[in-house]
Symmetry: C2
Subunit: 325 residues, 2 copies
């Protein structure tokens, strides 16, 4: 049987596990959008190794044999252009790969504020040994918006250190395995005031865009801290800026912004109660090999005619949860 | 029966639970060392509510009825002057009160470096969105020097988030309930190179003074981070400064220094890979009422002729562990 044509969008990043992929498929390498478009005729599988790169939509007309697109990322919002969403092409993502790192990132952000390290930095810059207030995690409450694999891993970690953790999902439900309660996203403003920590890891869809809006922000405790690991577009960023500047919420840890990179002119850079990282919360020492191994396993399943793992529901915009979750 | 005379060294700090203590004892309040000395004749119990204050040694000659000294702190190193150590006076401490807060502080310090928040701060100051390396906790290893209640709480928390955690104590032992292995302090330099995180919470005694010396520092991984929540005198601080300045270890989170307050001239203040907090790792929203409740319970035991909790072994310099630990 002929090997399928697999086109890899490298974005000039070294592709982990390339030798193995060459054994399994007829590999074409595309450094950028133009090369991807040129490689699409006859391509059966597209592997967006550099998941920050674009190009598939531009070349869509030439995708005459495409069956499957794999994006080794958690969020597929940038990928799901209308033609792809309407097509029969299967889309898979890297569900699971980033869970542990992102859960740890959320906890790091929470502890950074609980132990008031921002104040420690300010005092240290002035060589000032002066007592300041800190707090404990025990008895505090977190709300995790997003009940997919990352949200679940986050909830498990936060609960392991004594934080009472609820979820925010499409529909309210009790009896969840990982969350105390799950509230409906529609009730975000109604419940936000009950939490010390609000963590955003929801997929970006038309239902979640701007979910952290002025009403939600106004409802939050003035002592509350936001951690956004999902997408900048989940927040009404200008409203957040105002609340942070005025001290109406305690602080924010932002791994994602809108746009990215965050422009130098953004006032967020200058706020002492904001910590910004450049979309790296899913990183770990092992995420590249893990991403490569996950795709290779799916490619072997594809070649064997078996079902693929982590198939994205292109209408929902994410991998639908297994039954019972 | 006459109430015993209880002298409280307040250091001009409001004494939590004072009304109840007045019902149980004949309370004298002493704001400072001079007032403490003046109040000592006839005093049966001394309660060093402001545990940063001194004065008992200066007034020792006048302590003609003293039976019991309570220090609501974990470390009793500053209190145990020779005359007190040689006397029949019972010394108790606040074992247990600070466990949860200090365990969280250690984890906060570890995550601060694992997620490379120091680099995030540097980039943010320059409004620079630029990727940098971070790491995961899973698979990393911590060594906690000090196997008392704080060290144990720290080990349990670090293990709960996936860090393999060993202890360093007076004697090596296996099969500990909270630690993977417990190494002997004498082997600190021999084992230090196996750990990503080194946490100091040992009591300061003649056996532990300067335990983190140049040999231990030289043996540590260049990627290792130190968290000191014990006493500044546990480290050879000038050796640590040099290692941090030269990047021969990754960083340090210091809640204690030698001396305290840390002088403005100390080079530690200016190092980007050091985070300094002013001896607050045991703080929490509830530590003052918890300290008050703990003393009150011991006072009721004293009045009832029952054994006191958390009696310090004045030769060892800390509360000896319960049998089996």
């Amino acid at each position: 049987m002929a090997k399928p044509v697999l086109t890899i969008l490298t974005g000039n990043r070294e592709v982990t596990g390339l030798d193995t992929l060459r054994q399994l498929a007829d590999v074409r390498l595309a450094a950028d959008a133009d090369e991807l478009a040129a490689a699409l005729p006859g391509t059966e599988i597209v592997y967006l190794w550099n998941y920050f790169a674009d190009g598939l939509q531009q070349g869509w007309e030439r995708a005459d044999a495409l069956n499957w697109v794999h994006l080794p990322a958690a969020g597929v919002d940038r990928l799901l252009f209308p033609e792809l969403a309407a097509s029969n092409v299967t889309v898979t993502n890297a569900r699971g790969i980033f869970d542990a790192a992102m859960a740890e990132y959320a906890l790091a952000g929470i502890l950074y504020f609980a132990k008031n390290f921002p104040q420690a930095r300010l005092n240290q810059a002035e060589r000032r040994w002066q007592h300041f207030g800190t707090s404990n995690l025990a008895g505090t409450r977190a709300l995790v918006a997003g009940t997919g694999s990352i949200g679940r891993a986050t909830a498990r970690l936060l609960r392991a250190v004594g934080i009472e953790t609820d979820g925010l999902g499409r529909t309210a439900r009790d009896g969840d395995a990982d969350f105390g309660a799950v509230h409906a996203s529609a009730d975000f403003a109604a419940v936000a005031g009950n939490y010390d920590w609000v963590v955003l890891v929801a997929p970006l869809t038309e239902a979640t865009r701007g979910m952290l809006n002025a009403d939600v922000l106004a409802a939050m405790k003035s002592s509350a801290v936001l951690v956004n690991m999902g997408r900048g577009e989940l927040m009404v960023q200008c409203a957040l800026e105002g609340m942070l500047r005025d001290g109406r919420i305690r602080g924010a840890v932002l791994d994602v912004t809108s746009p990215e990179p965050l422009p130098q002119s953004s006032p967020l850079w200058g706020l002492e109660n904001v910590l910004i990282t450049p979309h790296l919360s899913g990183d770990s020492r092992s995420h590249l090999p893990a991403m490569a191994a996950q795709f290779e396993a799916n490619l072997r399943a594809y070649l064997a005619g078996e079902p693929l793992e982590n198939v994205v529901d292109k209408q929902l915009g994410f991998v639908a949860a297994p039954a019972g979750r």
